[in-house]
Amino acid sequence: MVESTAKLKIEDLKISYGDKQVVHGISFEIPRNEIFGVIGPAQSGKTSMLKVINRTIDFTANAHVSGNVKIDGEDVFKVKDVYGYRRRIGMVAPLPVGLPLTIYDNVAFAPRSFGLTDKDQLDALVQRCLEQAALWDEVKDRLGSLGTKLSGGQQQRLTIARALSHQPEVLCLDEFSIAIDPVTTMKIEDVLKELSSEMTIILVTNLVQQARRLAKHTMFLLNGELIEEGATDHIFSGKASNPKTNEFVSGAFG
């Protein structure tokens, strides 16, 4: 079997909540081990798409999904162990969420829930994840204090450390920078560049320039339709195939 370069392959994905369809049949591929940017104004179906990818859409009672979503050629809706599957996908929400636990327990929460109890292994894992999220130096002396007491930017990095704690293959970031300061944003962007060598990163962002800085490929969604997808250089060149893309990336609307 020839290994495809695509990590995720999405075909004709449709999502609706009740009577309201929010994603109208989009198809695209997300290449392995690189940053994949998703841009588009509010209400364009970006977050719903991420919820399908990690299957937390299951928790939304009136959601209806059709189409194919394949990870490494495997249909995610036929996954038997859905908890084990979610573990393969890291998810970072727009607003930082420090769980009401200590910093250490925040990061050790997911591994523990899967049965890792060995103290040395947990210690090493917590340190590695916090280091990867560029937070270790700031919190290493107070791992026992509450995660909810950290500043917003630190909590967002804690969220990233938590997403890394279950060693995901795909890391989804949903507008991670809307609630944090520019300096922290730059720190996290550096982290992401480093991580992209070992995992696939889906970067949903409201800052088109962020996608331009980081992503190798970028997709532009508008009202649940895929307008254009391609190499980031091309999307931002001003010579994109669809005039709407040019307008959006140059800030004409959105």
Binding site: P100, L101, S113, L146, T148
Partner: protein, 303 residues
């Protein structure tokens, strides 16, 4: 306006500011006097009761048997009976109520069945206690054949407190931010693990408060136990703690107070007030416990 005029007005109070300050003081004053108006009757009631009850109040009053056709002596069987009823009814109602609330708040989908159940819970919480009494009489005493007994009365009290426990527990659970649950689910943690490790530890103070407040309600109600388990007099030894069996009839403070004040002639006035003080004491003690617990757990709140 010249620059000087503007500068001189910048730090003076205009009529608008004065009006604003007056309204501020007025509002604060009204709200404060309403708060006082709440406390004054409570203090008056408590001090009046204690003053009237003083001749009969003593430590042995609680632990003695009623004597001389209940015109003298203590209230031990009634005190013990109230403890029995409250504890047994809570042992039944608290776990059922908390678990039902967890289901309704954490698992149930928003469909017509859930909405109907929620509506039923809210309406049940508003049912008058005498209606619960008749239900208890029909269901437990007669239909289930328990007779008038401690268990029938406790079950009736449990049915009465259950909807309020469900409602208050649901309230406490839904106060835990949804984002905590989502963050936990995103990491492949199951719903039950999330409830155990995130939701319950952060809502336990609210849940306990809701339960404990029902203690005072169960202790104070006369109607639900009148037909189902409480009787006018049961002779038990003064030093017995396990005096009542589940199928026995028992005495209860609220019932005792009612009997003494209305059914028996020539009872010294102070005795009636002393029983009221004992009842009020039990209720206030439980409330103080709940407040203390809430304060303790709130200082340990984590977000």
């Amino acid at each position: 306006m010249s620059e000087n005029e503007i500068n001189s007005k910048r730090f003076t109070k205009t009529s608008l500011v004065l009006k604003k300050e007056f309204n501020e003081k007025l509002a604060k004053g009204i709200f404060f006097s309403m708060t006082l108006a709440m406390i004054v009757p409570l203090l008056l009631i408590v001090s009046f009761l204690i003053y009237k009850a003083w001749p009969s109040l003593s430590f042995s009053f609680i632990f003695d048997m009623p004597k001389n056709g209940m015109k003298e002596g203590g209230i031990w069987p009634a005190f013990l009976g109230t403890l029995y009823l409250v504890i047994i009814s809570l042992i039944i109602a608290a776990p059922v109520g908390v678990m039902a609330a967890i289901y309704l708040n954490e698992y149930a989908k928003d469909n017509w069945l859930t909405r109907t159940i929620n509506l039923a819970v809210i309406n049940l919480a508003g049912v008058p206690s005498i209606v619960h009494a008749l239900f208890g009489l029909g269901a437990f005493v007669l239909f289930a054949g328990m007779g008038t007994s401690v268990i029938a009365a406790s079950l009736t009290l449990a049915v009465m407190t259950l909807p309020v426990i469900i409602a208050s527990t649901k309230e406490a659970l839904s106060a835990v931010p949804m984002t905590f649950r989502q963050a936990s689910w995103n990491m492949g943690v199951s719903r039950w693990q999330t409830i155990q490790r995130i939701v319950l530890p952060n809502s336990i103070s609210g849940i306990l408060t809701g339960i404990i407040l029902q203690v005072s309600r169960a202790a104070g109600e006369t109607a639900p136990i009148m037909f189902t388990g409480a009787v006018v007099f049961v002779p038990i030894a003064g030093d017995e703690v396990l005096a009542y069996g589940l199928m026995d009839k028992c005495m209860a403070l609220a019932m005792h107070l009612y009997t003494i004040s209305t059914q028996i002639p020539n009872v010294p006035e102070s005795l009636q007030f002393a029983i009221a003080v004992a009842l009020l004491g039990v209720v206030l003690l439980v409330n103080a416990l709940s407040i203390g617990l809430r304060v303790y757990l709130r200082t340990h709140r984590k977000w």
